[in-house]
Assembly symmetry: C2
Homo-oligomer: 369 residues x 2
């Protein structure tokens, strides 16, 4: 059974287990709950802020081209990714550096990005918008300038934030992060099982559940999100990947899937100890978010399981073991929230998207024609 | 007051008007209704087909890159366009040939595309998917191949169409067209006014309503959608644009906005009479769908009104007249349907989007790196 807590909590579990027959404490099945989403004290959730954040999340006008939104790469009509190895950036750029992780349950990540360079969803949201490869806005000020020209946003920001200057870039990312905190997927077969429905997992998934412990996957893929061992929010739980490149089967994968091409957290800290360190990603909905790893070079989940066994644990799994682990990982696919489609505030009589650089060049060519 | 019918119907209206005092027939205010959407007999609407069509409409996997959906350019979180002069195509291509018209109320268009080259929504949907610039799929068969690999679609198509081979390209476009027939925007201020709420239009809009008749705009922008004079579905109502290029103010616009760069319907028929002929576009929600005309070269609605007056009617309007007509056009902004966000069927354990050409090239470069 997956460990849900760090060593201290494991100790208390042990005490619990020992006392259980004596005290008739309710069993785990009665008390199991999908965790509550952590909300920072300085950015409380309100229905209006969620709705505003959803509009901004879907709004391509916060990209330079006017054609890329948060949802372009973290598509919430699907699994919160684009299922591409690397996403297309602004103007169709193909040099985005890493695979887009899912936005679902990202609210539980203790840090954001593969290299943990953002400590919160708010910090995260600032970056792709201003990344010249991704959404291409030259600055937060440029984002605010765009939004100030949309009457509906002026009203909504004033209503939600009520400040003298309601539209600020910080408020933009606060609203987006607030929406993202609603993108939670509880009630997976695993959660149903933990809540007492013993039929929710089939024998293969149950065998997989034991295997992820026996094999050692859970050393890192622990806790309710299977991504840390009780690490506090904002801290980050990292592992070296690949950690066993000298193990022959891993060496083969390193070459085949380019597992050594990315310095990981070292790029952020420039500390030698952080070379090839990556945030341990969640297992929640992992079956849906192919392809895998920082470059998205591995197409299937069974192959990803083999790579991890070889490159992190120096183990070679049998085909049956791989299939069982994959069955368990599939049991972590949760229920995606039913959502209404946002209606983006409009700019009657005009558009903000004349003179987009790439299009302007093409239009000039057509005019000269 | 805008004409809602062709000449035959105008005759019957005249008879009505003559008989009205005698027969105490209910006034127009009591009987006015936003028109019912026309549905072809061989593609009836069902809730399941609508939902399937919505999923396909939002699904970027029916493009070669895996990143462009119908919704990318005809964005239903907004006004059914992308508010760009020309849309970005697949792989960020900037050579899309014409401005993307709105999908809202497209179900009422008697033909589709600026040049009317599709006679129905079904015919229309086939084309961008297979256009090498737009969504880039090499064929309808290639679309079916992708969808066949998505278990949820196999089930849904079988449920909706129940054929032996349920996923066909024709069924794909039937489902998309069915969803599009729900994208209707009734209950605009104009509709409220016509239904008897005389306060729904302010004096400027009312003055504009008279002006569009007096100026002659309604010669073409007639009927409930303000886009034809009673033309039957599948037929197409076209006008030459610009029709007055020798009128000096128009000549200036032709040069400034490249109004002569597009042969229009001639490209489809190769008939000399069809040179520079375009489908008359609807006025419904026109205030939201800037920029204007086939190349999207005109940024604002007031400017578009001036261009039309000069280039179609040899007229120069005063600033007040322009403002009133713009106020009337704004009264044609309807209520957009509340929608749920679709949930796209997934491909557990794998992705269909490895080896996308542009990304593959970039990935190879990274591997070589």
């Amino acid at each position: 059974m997956p460990k849900h807590y760090g060593s201290l909590r494991r100790l208390s579990s042990l005490i619990f287990a020992t006392l259980l027959p004596l005290l008739a404490i309710p069993s785990q099945a009665d008390t199991y709950q999908f965790p509550k989403v952590p909300v920072p004290a300085d950015n409380p959730m309100t229905p209006e802020k969620i709705e505003l954040g959803k509009q901004l999340y879907f709004d391509p006008r916060i990209s330079l081209s006017g054609a890329v939104s948060c949802n372009s790469c973290h598509n919430v009509t699907g699994n919160g990714t684009d299922n591409l190895p690397l996403s297309f950036g602004v103007f169709g750029r193909v040099d985005t550096p890493r695979n887009s992780p899912t936005v679902f349950n990202a609210a539980f990540n203790t840090v954001q990005f593969w290299d943990g360079r953002a400590r919160s969803l708010e910090d995260q949201a600032e970056k792709p918008i201003q990344n010249p490869i991704e959404m291409g806005m030259p600055s937060g000020v440029a984002v605010v300038d765009r939004l100030e020209q949309i009457p509906g946003y002026r009203e909504e920001f004033a209503h939600v934030f009520g400040d003298k200057k309601p539209i600020t870039f910080h408020h933009v990312v606060e609203a987006i992060a607030t929406y993202e905190r609603t993108l939670i997927t509880p009630d997976s077969p695993y959660d149903q099982y933990m809540a007492g429905n013993k039929k929710a997992l089939d024998p293969s998934a149950l065998s997989g559940m034991k295997l992820v412990e026996a094999t050692g996957c859970e050393t890192c893929h622990a806790g309710p999100m299977f991504d840390n061992t009780g690490t506090p929010m904002g801290t980050g739980f990292y592992q070296k990947f690949p950690s066993q490149p000298d193990y022959e089967p891993c060496a083969k994968y390193v070459k085949q899937y380019n597992l050594h091409g990315d310095e990981g957290r070292y790029k952020v800290t420039r500390k030698a100890a952080d070379k090839n360190l990556f945030k341990v990603p969640t297992w929640r909905n992992v079956a849906l978010t192919a392809p895998y790893f920082n470059y998205g070079t591995v197409q299937t989940l069974p192959e990803a399981v083999k790579v991890m066994a070889a490159c992190q644990l120096r183990k070679k799994l049998s085909e049956k073991e791989v299939a069982d682990i994959v069955a368990f990982l599939n049991s972590l696919t949760g229920k995606f929230p039913q959502q209404t489609l946002p209606q983006l505030p409009q700019t009657p009589d005009t558009t903000l998207l004349m003179g987009v650089p790439a299009l302007t060049k093409a239009a000039d060519k057509k005019m000269a024609h």
